[in-house]
Symmetry: C2
Subunit: 221 residues, 2 copies
């Protein structure tokens, strides 16, 4: 189907930093964090289809969650790989009929339909757009012993979030050349030589990686 927009919810992580407490199913305002992500993508009129990528350990639980009728756009729940990028690659393999791919962290439950839509709009020109907010704190580059090597000018630095939106052919080409470890999908696309545009993210769109973050997300809700 042409013009279709497919979302990959990357939720294959192991919640190592949560002390055994699974961030995907942790209750946030009385609802699992993953359910909040699915609510936003279901409510976004531009999104046609959702693929959820989870760890082997979470497969049954995630399948149970989506078995109801709340999120009809979810077409499948699949198992991810070892690294984040392996999980996205598994999702991408299911989506060869899409024109646009929206990748989102399963651990960013405060995403909104508006944030997804703005990303699709921003990606129209260059084919790749990434939500980002200005870096607030000073960032230092340091050597492995903790001595400062330099302070890059803060005005040029952005803190990247998801959604990250790519034209399917660009993302597929970037993933075909995949070799090194990266921390976000845009880095692969950059390495493959494509232009990536930043668009205005949301300070509230935080990533849950520690129990502290969950308390913060409760406060932001």
């Amino acid at each position: 189907m042409k013009n279709s927009v497919c979302a990959i919810i990357a939720a294959g992580g192991s919640s190592r930093r949560m002390g055994g407490f699974d961030k995907l199913f942790a209750s946030l305002g009385g609802k699992p964090t993953l359910a909040r992500v699915l609510d936003a993508f279901q409510a976004c009129g531009r999104v046609d289809r959702i693929v959820v990528v989870v760890s082997q350990d979470n497969l049954t639980k995630a399948q149970e969650l989506v078995s109801g009728k709340e999120w009809p756009k979810v077409s499948e729940v699949i198992v991810g790989g070892e690294r984040r990028q392996d999980s996205v690659a598994n999702g991408l393999a299911k989506l060869n009929d899409c024109e646009w791919v929206v990748i989102h962290d399963g651990a960013r439950p405060l995403v909104t339909p508006g944030l997804i839509e703005r990303g699709l709009e921003a990606a129209r020109e260059s084919g790749a757009a990434v939500a980002a907010v200005p870096v607030k704190d000073t960032i230092k580059l340091a050597d492995p012993k903790g001595f400062v090597l330099g302070t890059p000018p803060r005005g040029n630095l952005w803190q990247v979030q998801t959604p990250q939106i790519f034209r399917y052919d660009i993302l597929a080409a970037a993933y075909r050349n995949l070799t090194e470890d990266v921390t976000d999908d845009a880095a692969l696309v950059e390495k493959a030589g494509f232009k990536v545009k930043l668009y205005a993210g949301d300070e509230r769109n935080i990533k849950i990686t520690t129990p502290n973050d969950l308390a913060v997300a409760e406060a932001l809700l």
Copy 2:
């Protein structure tokens, strides 16, 4: 007095991003944020003296706050300059009898005595130490139009906080050469050719710059 440790609380900002709501006197768990900062420095056994630097607008209010007996280490409240570094320079001018200077943002109310002490310990070898936490999100370097120029490896990047601790003579030398705008004091010290060591900060030690941050700090308390 030799071996003395003096703190400069840099609170000269104008709270522009708070929509008229002053972050210094905003109530956090029933107490002004500035009072929480003073509590931590008063309670830290290694700190001998505290100088508070505020904007002209906040001078009377800050003087009233410290006029009680809660924080006997506060020796004066003075008015800052236009930029953060001007405020610190004004504070520094009062401290020529100190051996160590601890600079702290007035807008980081969740600082603890332990965090201050660890910084003084870390500064002993190189003469300069800065609290920092690992960067969690991917950081992008972008051009002014928002196109990504690169993704520096996240493992080498640190998000800097305060306290920032300096031997007095190092900080004074760095400030004598002061010309460019910087976003933290360590950057001046680095530019002057001194070594700066990062030490383990605290994820909870956030900076209040928006009303959102205040809600987050409430949750972290």
